[in-house]
Amino acid sequence: MEDIIATKYTARDFKSDQEVRWCPGCGDHAVLNAVQRALAELGIPKEKFAFISGIGCSSRFPYYMDTYGFHSIHGRASAIATGVKTANPDLSVWQITGDGDALAIGGNHFIHAIRRNIDINILLFNNQIYGLTKGQYSPTSGKGLVTKTSPFGTVEEPFSVGELVIGARGRFFARTVDANLALSTQIYIEAAKHKGTSVVEVLQNCVIFNDAIHDIVTAKDVRDDRTVILEHGKPMIFGKSKEKGLILEGLKLKVVNLGEKGITEANLLVHDAYESNPGIHYMLANMAYPEYPVALGVIRSVPGITYETAVAEQIEAVKSKSKVKCMDDLLMGGSTWLVQ
């Protein structure tokens, strides 16, 4: 995005004329708001945004954005977004996807996009269920979840989104909660600014088929104690009155109470999102209740050369060295002979 022009937008400028059709109370509404706010802050001309989605409730998202949008087929948004961004590195490309869309049918494109480090922003709406098809379990549904296709409980181990992302060589992983507008907006902005594939896992509520599944950590009365918001360069503190923190014990994270056993803020781990060695990011991404608070915020953010840049640079390098400048040169080059 070379020629960023300082353009002044408000969230409203990103609302399309389409009626929003998600269920009342669905977490998707909040994500839409936060994204529209984030976009307004980026200062990128509106016509440079492309929103690409697959199929699912969440994937209807592009219709509600007054940007270029492509509501594609189930699971393939990562591949389409890769095409869009590689074709035109100048665009700000966003992929909107669900836990089924990205991790079930779309798993392959998802991990390959991440591996290539194509500079797209993936918002993964994780409601741990297939919403649009009315309630079957997904690859993130907790073991034992009773759904329409698991009437006796699922027997499958779910993916940990962050772990899979980093395992696929991911360089940016963040987590947020649908309803937390402030945090979400901030994270979407950071995702947009990060060069490379940014994956944001949004803990999203499906009121109809998996209501309150995240409440155990995100409900108002418990969230301060059961989540920790990570900020680069800041100690890992959480709790209603900021009384808890995280330290490293050997190779494991541990929750400690400030003040106890002489522990002060200075003893706590300081978050380093930029560390390229993924070791600690794995642990942070995998933290789960009840042993740990669930990590929110930008967990990992390591810059690196992006795919579309490398592709473009290689083309430029070859171009600058080649004598072939157009098709006629190519056609007449090499081994030819004349018939008279």
């Binding site: 492509f70 087929i73 890769t82 095409g83 035109n88 083309i315 070859v318 171009k319 098709m327």
Partner: protein, 614 residues
Amino acid sequence: MIKKSEIIEREEVVIRFSGDSGDGMQLTGTLFSDTAAQLGNDLSTFPDYPAEIRAPQGSVGGVSGFQVHMGHSEINMPGDFSDVLVAMNPAAIKANIRWVKEGGTIIYDKDNFTDKNIEKAGYEKDPIAEEKLDGLNIIDAPISSMVKEALKDMGLDPKSVIKTKNMFALGMVFWLFDRKLDFTEKYIDKKFSSKPEIANANKIVLRAGYYYAETIEALRPVFRILPAPISKGTYRNISGNAATAWGLMAAAEKAGLNIFIGSYPITPATGILEEFAAHKELGTISVQAEDEIAGICTALGASFAGKLAVTSTSGPGLALKSEAIGLAVMTELPIVIIDVQRGGPSTGLPTKTEQADLMQALYGRNGECPVVVLAASTPSDCFDYAYEAARIALEHMTPVILLTDSYLANGTEPWRIPSMKDLKEIKPRFADLKEIPFLPYKRDDEKLAREWAFPGMPGLEHRIGGLEKTAKGTVSYVPENHENMINIRAEKVERVANYIPDLPVIGDKSGDLLVVGWGGSYGYLLTAVRELNLEGYNVSLANFNYINPFPKNVREVFQSFKKILVCELNMGQFADFLRIKYQEFSYEQLNKVQGLPFTLAEIKDKCINLLEDK
């Protein structure tokens, strides 16, 4: 060196080089045909190699062949029966003996006809004895030992020595056809520029073969094939895969667009992706995707972003792309999908040729989902039809499937190089920046094509997708809208017929028998029909390159013949499609599904049968 009296002029000749996969036969054949082309012969070549990278040495399955058909007159196919067979081992005899012409010549490496190799090839005793080869001119050359002898003072390791034996054989054949060695020598110098001793060894052996042939009596007479009276111009040899890639690159340049290919390797289509990857100097973006679905989806993304989008594959890969082709139909994005057909079903015969993906190309998608389907018919016209595919995709805003096949993809022929300025205009349907609000499914009256607006164009922001939409682009479940859109999408494809040439008829425009073919069997059908004409039969040929929609004159053409014979390398898919589109005619069929092209005899026999039983 050769006395005039010993030279026989021939109209055309077929030579087949064959040996173990490691024997370098593909290179030998290429060098021979390039030399012939430089000397002005018309020609057609076909490489034929095993599915294994290196099948067991000496086995029939491991035989790799390269056939060259060259002539003084127009050559349209690599030939079925060969005048000269070069066989580097017994397995090469086993695999090819059926295809040697009566009175033909076999040159073989005597040294390699050991008991072990004879057994490996599935013979009990000496194949030369076992196959009854009466009437053939058999040259038993001790190639391996001659090579060792020729290089004994060079101090090369035995492996490097024996690797040059293909050059010995090539030298012999060059002598037999009275060809100069300089083109090959230059090639050798270039290829081994960093290893001068290897270059030297190859050149010594090449000459040794040439002189050996001169020395032995057996190889007389020598054949001379005069240059073909082909049109003036600059020529090059080109394979179908390269021509396909170049045709698309040319279309992009003409349309003022960058080109993007998203593909996944698969035999025999990989060469197209490789060709794109090799031409980054023209700004080509080539993405080797993680699978075929990602191949087409990255390309669709690129199309959405304003590039000329291409994806290339073979049958199994086309199957995987089915769903995404449906998305391209629904979003009406331009994209060219190339299917280099190979032997199926499933993995089938992956290195062999077949024309059995036609129905898949036409119908292999959910819902009412028509696309434009074209087929190329010679290695070099892959350029033209790839160009056409891109032109139609861009001007009509539709996916276009281009069918080629393994035979076209790997075969080569001399090609008169076109000049960019002589190619048809291509005018993509770019949206008008001033027409705000942009209606994504608004159409023009003639083509019914929508306009193309892509990210980066200010004010034209819009959403497309796989759900049914109104003209405005709003998702719609209104029953009548759906039916209307289904009809419009079909009609849009039908109207492409207004922008393509009529079906050409070769031969009389009416008569007893019309041979009908499509795509890659063209050369064989043409040669057969010409021979039949020379023999006095009233036969004409109509070979289709435009399959969906059909050219507008098909009915007219068909009406003028008493019989119609549809020839194709499948069980009758094109004939069936004709039954759907032109139910009123009777169609005779000639079908073959052996992973091989037709032979001339098969076509001619069938035609003669039909003609005589009228």
